[in-house]
């Protein structure tokens, strides 16, 4: 069972929700796909960490073999290749590593070089396996790191919690593509609601069953409540806007490990998503 936790807005409570679900489940896999700023590890403090590098392919052109025919440049639909002084040149941050240029080259002048763009760290927090995708600074796309991190979700018979990046763009699509259920974390503000609608639209488009967690709850925020009612979105949990919670989170602690009642609350939440264990 793969459960993705997402929210359009940053700081809505994705990591809070995903980390606490994993800790409440105990035997679980937590995968941080927010590779630009993975911070689940700040709470789960994984032990026995090992790392694997993530690479992408970048074309290189053999000046001996390249005749300057320009086939590769004209083929590249991402416009990552330019033709300067009768030779192709690649712009690494625009390249999508599709390998097309090496396929179309009539002179086998293109080889692909592996370039390190980040890493995946694995460790554990008690019985919870902790997987962290980390994109190197300055890299344009985290998608390959997310794909590599999500391989750790394969063949698991324990709940897998996928902590998604914020927004509703390619990295989020990648993160939820294999999810069985999406928890949409909403902040009950105008801004939070706007971005919440965007991620819901995305998850609905991908045909994912969804449920809502409202974080920093201080009372009914009508537009959000009405939207959920209209779209038949179940509100699974309301996490109150409380100083006690803020204190625990800001000191890097895990709510369910500090407040026993929350362990029950998050176990209940897990059950509602279909990820609870028998």
């Amino acid at each position: 069972m793969k459960i993705a936790v997402l929210s359009g807005k940053g700081g809505a409570g994705k990591t809070l929700t995903a980390v606490n679900l994993a800790a409440a489940a105990g035997q679980a896999v937590y995968i941080d796909c927010d590779v630009e700023e993975p911070n689940g590890r700040l709470f789960l403090k994984p032990q026995d960490v090992s790392a694997t590098e993530v690479t992408t392919a970048l074309p290189e052109f053999d000046p001996e073999k390249c005749t300057g025919c320009r086939t590769c440049v004209d083929f590249c639909r991402f416009h990552a290749l330019v033709y300067i002084k009768d030779k192709p040149k690649v712009f690494a941050e625009v390249c999508h590593s599709c390998g097309g240029c090496s396929l179309v080259c009539p002179d086998q002048a293109v080889t692909e070089r592996e370039k390190v763009i980040g890493r995946v760290e694995t460790g554990h927090h008690g019985e919870t396996r902790v997987v962290t995708g980390i994109l190197n600074l300055g890299e344009a796309s985290g998608v390959p790191v997310i794909q590599e991190a999500l391989k750790e979700a394969e063949g698991q018979n324990v709940p897998v919690l996928i902590d998604c990046p914020p927004g509703s763009a390619c990295p989020v699509v990648e993160s939820i593509s294999d999810a069985d259920f999406c928890i949409l974390v909403a902040e009950p503000t105008a801004f939070g609601f706007h971005n919440f609608c965007m991620v819901h639209e995305l998850a609905a488009l991908l045909g994912k069953p969804c449920g809502v967690v409202i974080n920093k709850w201080e009372g009914l925020y009508e537009p959000l409540e009405e939207y959920c009612k209209e779209k038949k979105l179940p509100i699974l949990l309301r996490i109150p806007y409380e100083e006690r919670i803020a204190e625990i989170v800001s000191s890097g602690k895990i709510l369910v490990e500090e407040v026993p009642e929350y362990r029950k609350i998050f176990q209940e939440l897990l059950k509602k998503t279909g990820g609870g264990q028998a």
Partner: protein, 118 residues
């Protein structure tokens, strides 16, 4: 020599962006003629700056006059020895005249990309 400028829908007005300008004006200083060409990069999903820079090279222009230009485009143009000048005001013919009189300054500030990255 040929000099190229990004132009707007009103083809005598310089476009504020380079890569996504709808048209380019290509001026030949020998014949004194100006030709308007569609910018093949104006509607592409990504890499517009690179594709537009490629178009400049394919037009065999030796100079570009533009209000702004991104770092990727600039890298391509500089590698191909295309000079980049900063436009003054919005008139196309005025800028061509200023260029011929050597009154335009070289563009030295290039911005990071706006989009085109997946």
């Amino acid at each position: 020599m040929r000099v190229i400028l990004p132009v707007d829908e009103e083809k005598d007005v310089i476009c504020v962006t380079f890569g996504r300008a709808p048209y380019f004006a290509v001026h030949d200083t020998e014949t004194g003629t100006t030709e308007i060409k569609n910018n093949p990069a104006s509607q592409v999903q990504g890499g517009a700056g690179l594709k537009a820079a490629q178009f400049v090279l394919d037009c065999q222009a030796e100079a570009l006059i533009t209000p702004r230009c991104g770092t990727n485009s600039a890298e391509v143009l500089q590698a191909a020895d295309v000079k980049i000048y900063k436009s003054e005001g919005m008139g196309v013919s005025q800028n061509i005249e200023a260029f011929k009189e050597g009154k335009l300054s070289v563009l030295t500030h290039f911005h990071g990309g706006y989009q085109g990255i997946r």
